[in-house]
Amino acid sequence: MTDYEVIDQLTVSLAREVKNGESCYTGIAIPLAVVSIQLARMTHAPDLDFYYGGYWIQPDLDVDLFTIMTDLDAFKEAFPKAKGFNPLIQLYRYWEGPKHTLDFGIIRPAQIDQWGNINNSVVGNYDQPKVRFPGGAAVGDIINTCHHVLVYIPRQDKRTFVENVDFITGKGVSPEWRRENGLEKYKGITVIVTDLAIFDFQTKDSRMRVRSVHESSTIEEVQENASFSLEIPDPLPITKPPTELEMKVLREKADPLEVRKFDYRPR
């Protein structure tokens, strides 16, 4: 049996959602997403085009991206070897334009509800909130401009998995709404990975459903850590645990500095 932690399961599960040849975007504030992208590229998806905070494409290197971003010498060495380079200027200019639509984005919202709406703005009254989150940056934009969106939530609980979000920073999955608004190309959130399970919206009314439960948790635990009743398939699949190869690449190449743990508060 492979030795791994819950955070590794989360990272690996996210990486497996990535398909080779796709293009994607993440913000720079979410280290686990970046690690999972790099893991995917170092395993099954070498030809992934990745806009890191909007500007790196395909460094094409065996170095973890965090080192490139924070170590100037590593950055200077990586720059000339990059397969392509795209300053942010271009992403901002063609966003919503005809030239390019990214296949997917990865986001980490403060709250998500059963309809796939996300909240990164406030809890409570908008003008004098109980909690003021940082704001959405581009998460709402990504939901309405990428073909689909992957979400991860490092610690699932009743505060992060809510029945209806207090404030919609990014719109949910509703296919009817997307058709009515001419956004049917952009499906919204398709997959959510947490420290307990994987979820999707594959029900008749596009409501959140458990897709598989991690072997380190139970379905009772998954339900207890959501403020709404989850759709649960029968039989209930168990998430495939990380393989030996995935763990080796993750530890030795994709994330030797364990940047993924920046995102994680153990239970």
Binding site: G27, A29, L72, F75, K76, P134, G136, N144, T145
Partner: protein, 276 residues
């Protein structure tokens, strides 16, 4: 005519109460931090601040209560955590008005401002509750398609950090420079542009940068004020000159949690230079 002077003189001349200021840079990169520190040293208040993605710059200004109106899409310390002073200002109802944008809508508003358009449209805001809390955002239908119309941004002043300037007021960026839109966007929609540079160079050195394939980011026609602020973006990163100082951000994150330690931070990192 571009004014080249020292930071303190320029700040006291152009940063006045009620000035609407766009701050360049984003997400712990390229912030004109030395100018922000000077604004705090001069105790200038009632500022309207606009920035695409705010971090230490905005949290410091919130902490000293210098801002009356803030416009942004995100205020936090990426990878580290919340911006405590910003968060407290809003949660405690200190009177700070926060006009929240999405990142793309704000980019569009900067671009529209630069082009002299009164408004622009964006589709990615469809379905967002931001449309409900921003009376100046409005759903419109153009050629049977729905859009959200947002106002253009035209700040009074943009403050940005750059690599070098020559004595004519042309501003240059080095090879391998990244993330320039964070500075370009606010610069071209604002009525005045103040550029803080790492160093002054000769016209000859400037031409050599141009010949390497790097056009000046701003010609003297664009730039109103220049001050030399070596390492002035610190602790935000200014690659390839210097990386962001993550250790400093972590220290700040801890010290900004309580008013006492925040005051200590101000003394240690900002006011100390006043006596020099």
């Amino acid at each position: 005519m571009t004014v080249i002077s020292n930071l303190s003189a320029i700040v006291s001349e152009i940063v006045l109460p009620n000035t609407k200021i766009a701050i360049g840079g984003a997400a712990m990169f390229l912030k004109p931090m030395e100018a922000v520190r000077e604004i705090i040293r001069q105790q200038i208040k009632d500022l309207e601040i606009i920035t695409l993605i705010g971090d230490l710059d905005i949290d410091l200004l919130c902490g000293v209560k210098a801002i009356s109106v803030l416009e942004s899409s995100f205020i936090g310390l990426p990878m580290i955590g919340m911006a405590h002073n910003f968060r407290k200002s809003i949660e405690e109802g200190s009177g700070l008005v926060f006009k929240e944008w999405s990142e793309l809508s704000m980019v569009r508003a900067f671009q529209a401002g630069a082009m002299g358009l009164p408004v622009t449209t964006v589709r990615s805001l469809l379905g967002s509750d931001l449309v409900k809390v921003r009376p100046d955002f409005e759903e419109v239908v153009i050629q049977n398609k729905k859009y959200i119309q947002v106002p253009a941004l035209n700040p009074d002043l943009a403050i940005i950090h750059a690599y070098a300037a020559d004595s004519n007021g042309n501003v240059y960026y080095p090879k391998q420079h990244i993330l320039d839109d964070f500075s370009l966007l606010p610069a071209f929609c604002s009525k005045q542009l103040f550029v803080c540079v790492e160093k002054m160079i000769s016209n000859q050195e400037g031409r050599e940068i141009v010949e390497q394939g790097h056009i000046p980011m701003f010609s003297y026609l664009d730039v109103d004020y220049i001050a030399k602020t070596p390492k002035g973006a610190w602790p935000t990163g200014f690659p390839p000159e210097y990386a962001g100082d993550m250790g400093h951000f972590m220290t700040y994150s801890g010290m900004s949690r309580s008013p006492e330690t925040f005051q200590l931070y101000l003394q240690q990192e900002i006011y100390k230079e006043d006596t020099n």
